[in-house]
């Protein structure tokens, strides 16, 4: 849904007060960056003023605050709200000061929440698309990604049009991770028959190791109902892939998510204390899957579909040399490849030793 937008493209904003959670510079930066999200895909220009009435007045408040007809509810629950284009409260954005506002993934990222609320201040309603920035529930997404989904872009452009001098092809998303960037890391990696699939944020790369061809796609292009930010993935012994995020997992066969998924990871045998999986790999030779969580791993028997007794165990004991948190892992030609941030380690499970250390993007022929 969209509402009538502003009748002008040049809009002003004013930051009326600040949260003590962040430095003023960080708040200014977060707000400016949040406006840039929308000016990147529309003709809109946002200018900051420091006095008087701006089109978009930005303030932090708690419970009942000023003349606002809505109130906040203390920590969690409602994080912020905004009003559609118009005079008075129209276009204004309020943040709940009882929340923990941050620049990173802890607490609530001010930039991400501000970009969402500015969508309302420009005329957008909530979106039903879980991948959209305008989806009502908060979800942290990697800040190296452009946060607008195609749904957000078509919504805002239906009100204001495209940015000037863009030929009328669909606007490309301004930033996408560069696989050959020096700090490239991955959220999850899995094999799929002869391919290796690398996942990060909303993107996946299909790599054919035999001829080092790569293809980049949106995860949603293959599996529309998978969320961005998959945390672990592995190919099991039945030509299926399992994807993990938080305490949920999906089983995929080809393009289909099997019926009944997502399920809770405790159906695999994890206790309720386990909230997420960092990485997973199925050893094709033994039919056992190792789940890596923190500095420990659990072992799951694919044949009996049950978690083995006596786990979790310390990862470094079974995999000497693998002492970091495991971001992602996969098996290729019998060897395991463990990833942590921009590094990866080749591990020989027979010799039980690391045989090589490489950059995480070594599979991309950079």
């Amino acid at each position: 849904f969209t509402l009538p937008g502003w009748k002008k493209n040049k809009l002003t904003y004013r930051i009326v007060n600040y949260t003590p959670d962040m430095s003023k510079e960080d708040v200014d930066k977060a707000i400016e960056k949040a406006f840039k999200v929308w000016s990147a895909v529309t003709p809109l220009v946002f200018t900051r003023i420091r006095k008087g009435i701006a089109d978009i007045m930005i303030a932090f408040g708690t419970t009942a605050h000023g003349h606002c007809p809505r109130y906040f509810d203390g920590p969690l629950g409602v994080l912020a709200h905004a009003f559609p284009p118009g005079n008075g409260l129209g276009g204004d954005v309020h943040f709940d000061e009882d929340e923990d506002w941050t620049t990173g993934s802890a607490g609530f990222n001010l930039f991400l929440v501000a970009a969402h609320e500015f969508g309302h201040a420009l005329g957008l309603s909530h979106s039903k698309d879980q991948r959209a920035l305008m989806f009502p529930s908060y979800a942290y997404v990697s800040l190296s990604e452009f946060p607008l989904s195609p749904d957000d872009i078509s919504g805002i452009q239906s009100i204001y049009g495209s940015p000037p001098n863009v030929p009328d092809k669909r606007p490309t998303t301004p930033t996408s991770p560069k696989t050959c960037g020096s700090q490239m890391s991955f959220d999850a990696i899995t094999t799929l028959r002869r391919e290796v699939i690398f996942l990060k944020g909303r993107n996946l790369w299909r790599v054919y190791p035999d001829n080092s061809e790569t293809e980049r796609e949106l995860i949603s292009a293959f599996w529309p109902n998978l969320p961005p930010g998959i945390e672990a993935a592995y190919e099991n012994t039945k030509d299926q892939i399992l994807f993990f995020k938080g305490n949920k997992f999906w089983v995929i066969s080809g393009y289909q998510v099997l019926v009944g998924y997502p399920k809770n990871i405790n159906t695999l045998g994890f206790p309720k204390s386990v909230k997420k999986v960092d990485a997973a790999v199925c050893n094709k030779n033994t039919g056992k899957t190792d789940f890596f969580i923190g500095d420990k791993y659990w072992r799951f028997d694919e044949n009996s579909q049950s978690m083995e007794k006596g786990y979790p165990r310390l990862t470094v004991n079974e995999f000497p040399g693998i002492s970091h948190k495991v971001d992602a892992v996969f098996q290729q030609k019998g060897l395991f490849y463990f990833f942590h941030e921009s590094k990866q380690w080749e591990f020989d499970p027979i010799a039980k030793k690391v045989t090589k250390e490489m950059e995480s993007n070594s599979w991309f022929n950079c």
Partner: protein, 83 residues
């Protein structure tokens, strides 16, 4: 099939009622200039919320629905013209 809590606690049912009143209560009524407070029943509002979030539409506060409701979120209503 969605799993149901044994019995929805009074606290949870108040929470559900408050949530629906806050985010699913106001509907546009083009025929009348004034907004019409949404007189739908709680079940109908709940179904609308479940549809919106892509949950199984049961009209009942099952565990998944409660879990989604308890996620931190934006204070703008999900339906209507959030005016």
């Amino acid at each position: 099939l969605p799993t149901y809590p044994e019995k929805v606690s009074e606290e949870d049912s108040k929470f559900v009622q408050n949530y629906l009143n806050k985010f699913y209560a106001i509907e546009p009524d083009p025929n009348q200039r004034a907004w019409k407070i949404n007189a739908e029943s709680t079940d109908e509002k709940l179904q609308k919320m479940q549809q919106f979030f892509g949950l199984k539409v049961t009209g009942k506060p099952d565990n998944e629905t409660l879990e989604m409701m308890k996620k931190p979120r934006c204070g703008v209503p999900d339906v209507g013209l959030y005016g």
